[in-house]
Amino acid sequence: MLDVSFSLNPETDTALVGPNGAGKSTLVQALLGILPRQAGEVRLLGAPLSPQGQLPPAIRAQVAYLPQQLPISGRFPLTVAEFVGLGWEPSGLRLPWAGRRGRQAAVRQALARTSCSDLASRLVSALSTGQWKRVLLAFCVVRPRRLLVLDEAQAGLDPQAAEQFQSLLFDLRRSEGWAVLQISHDLDMVRRTCDRVICLNRSLRCVGSPDHALSPPQLERLYGRGYVLYHHHHHGAPASATPPQP
C-alpha cells in the first residue's frame, strides 16, 4: 500500500470505500496494531502506535473495533452479557469480580442501546449474523470511547436494524464526541450519513465530502472505467459500485 495519509476528527463519521482487495481492512488493522506495520507513522488520540502495535493502555481503552467477521466454531460457552462485560473491563491483571456492579450496570445499558437486552443470557455462538453484529456493537459502546472503527459493520443487518445502527452512531458522535471510521460498500448509506469519504485502491485516490468523493469522475477513478452501480429498491439511489466485469 502506498501514499496513504489522513486524519480523523472528533464527532465525525468517515467512510473508507474502495473495491474488494483495495486494502481497506488491511489498512484498518494496521492502524489498530492488529497487523504489524513496516513503514509510516500512526498516532491514535495523540499517542504513537509502535510498529508492533503497542499503545498506552489508557489510549487503547478509548478505541473500539468491530471486525468484518468473527466466526465462532462450535458451542462457545460465553453469554452475550459476559462478552459485552469484557468490553467494559480494562486490560491488565484483574480479578473477575472486581467492579462487578459497575460492569453489570454498564452491560445492561449497552444491551438496551443496541436492542440486545433479550439476548443477554444467550450464548454468543447461538446468535444469527445480525444479532452478533449488534452484540459486537454493544461490546464497543459499553464504555466511553473516542474512536470507533467499523469494518463493514452493517453487512448482514436488516433495514430496520441498519437504521437503528446508524442512529446509534449519530448519537455517539453528536452526544459523546466519538470519531467513527467505517469501511462500507453501501455508497448510499455513506452519502446519506458520513461527513467525509476516503477512497482507497492500494493507494489513496481521494479524500473529501461524499458529494465530491462519490461523484462519477471519482468513482471511475476508484473502480475503473465502466464501473457498475447497483440500486437499492428501498432507497431509490445508487447503493454500491463494482469494477467493470471482464
Binding site: Q29, Y65, P67, L70, P77, E89, S91, R94, L95, P96
Partner: protein
Amino acid sequence: MIPAPLSPPGDWLELLRLPFMQRALLAGLLSGGLGGLLGSVAVLRQLSFFSDALGHSALLGISLGLVLGVEPNLVLIPFAVLFALVVAQLVERSRLPSDALLNIVYSSSLATAVLVLRLAAGRGGSLEQLLFGDILAVSNRDVLVEGVLLVAVLLYLLLTRRSQILVSLDPGLAISQGVAVPWQRLLFVVVLAVVVALSIKAVGVLLVSAFVVIPACAARLLAPDFNRYVLLASGLGAGCGVVGLLLSGLFNLPSGPCVVILQLLVFLGALLLSSRGSWRPSA
C-alpha cells in the same frame, strides 16, 4: 485380563486408610481438577492435539535424562517448556496444517524416545510405567507440588480471564482491546507444558492429554456460561480422578486407563444430555 473379584467392604476401608492410597486419591483429585481447569481454555483454543504432542515429548525428555545420567524430573520441565515454545512457533510460522505438523512431532517424539530408552535400559522405570503412569507411586512431595500448581494455575486464569476469553474468540479483537496476544499465547503454552510434565508420573504419557481434553469437552456441551464452564470442567476432572481411582482399586485395574474410561462415559453422558436439551441456555 480378568479383574480380581470385588474385595469385601472392610478391605476397602482398610485400603482408604493406607497412606499411599490417600496420596493417590489426592493426586487424582488435584491432577483431574488441574487438567479440567487448564483444559477449559485449551479446548477453546483448539490446543487438544498440542497437549497430546506435549505428553509424548515428555517421554523424550525423560529418556534423554536417563541416558545423560541426569535426574529425569530435573530435565522434564525445562525440556517440556522448550519443546512447547519451539512447536508453538513451528505451528504459527509453517504453511502446513497444524494437525499434520503436530502428528509429525508427537509420533517422531515417541519413536525417538523409545529408541533412546533402549540405550538407557535398566537405568529408569519401565516403559509401561512411563506410558500409563503410576498414580499409586506418587510421593507427598508430588502431591504438594500438584496442590501448589493448582492454586497457581487458578490464580493465573482468574487474573487473565478477560485475555484468555478474547484470545480464544478472536486474536484481532483481543489486540484491539489491549491484549498482548503473542505473550498470552506463549505463557499459556508454557503453563500447559509445566502441568503436562508434572502430571506424567501419575497419569502417563499416552493418557495425560485426556485429562486436559475430555472433562473440558463434556463441560463445553453443558455449561450455560463461561464461569460455570470452567468450574464444571475442573469439577468433572477432579471427580473422575477420584472415582476412577476408587474403581481401579476395587477391580484391580490400571488407574490411569480407569480414570480415562470414566471421563469418556461422562463425556458420552454430556453428549446425550446436550442433545436432549436438558441444560440449554435460555433462548
